[in-house]
Symmetry: C2
Subunit: 152 residues, 2 copies
Amino acid sequence: MKNCIAIVFVFSLFSCNQQKIDTKAEGEKVMQISKEWSDIASSGDIEKTLNYWAEDAILISAGEGTLNGKNEIRQMVEQSYKIPGFKISWQPISVQVSESGDMAYLLEDSQVSYTDSSGNTMTQYNQAVSIWRKQSDGTWKNVVDISTPGNK
Amino acid sequence: MKNCIAIVFVFSLFSCNQQKIDTKAEGEKVMQISKEWSDIASSGDIEKTLNYWAEDAILISAGEGTLNGKNEIRQMVEQSYKIPGFKISWQPISVQVSESGDMAYLLEDSQVSYTDSSGNTMTQYNQAVSIWRKQSDGTWKNVVDISTPGNK
């Protein structure tokens, strides 16, 4: 019987490889990544900014159609940073993580500024939803980002 | 030893209550629900249309700010259906489901039409992302819906 208990114990260690995920901690991690990403994006570092998107990420902005994959996103980012006075930043508002800890989404407020032909700073306020997927190496990458003009 | 094998077998049935989810089948289910919802929404049945949102659903549209919860969404839906010639419909394009089968998201194309003061039908084409959460009764409900003007 003792042997049997030992076998059951060992079996229990391997019978379920789906461990309970701490979704709260994962959510805080994704919120923190979003904040870091905003700091990096507003600093204008294109390569570091691109690093937060998954290879197959999808980016949807008002009137711009859908950008499919990192190459299309790279072109858009490079064009954007050439706009005089271009600056983008955002703040995550809330996060939800799936029970399996492989999918998460954020609600965010974002701001995009540029300098108009008279030298004035113009700012567009947007609302955004970003969806994140945990990669095989444990890092979170952005897979969908959609923004729409806010009511400010 | 036979008893022990039996104990291990019974134990294995209860040791892991996280069953492997058929995410492909769940994804097809969510796509199908989105199509049904579009049919119902375009038919103008307000009560049935509202039934697809979770109580705490969030709806974000261009220039409209964030609607929090079903009551705010109900008011918007009721106002929308009073607009002459109002009609909304959408088509799901792709779906992703979390490994745990509790969270999913869809990319969608949508169209909103109304009749202008000259009697002409005006149509706004949007791109949308909807996020879904499986409820305790096994049904999928929409928890986030964000749309932005397309490039048509």
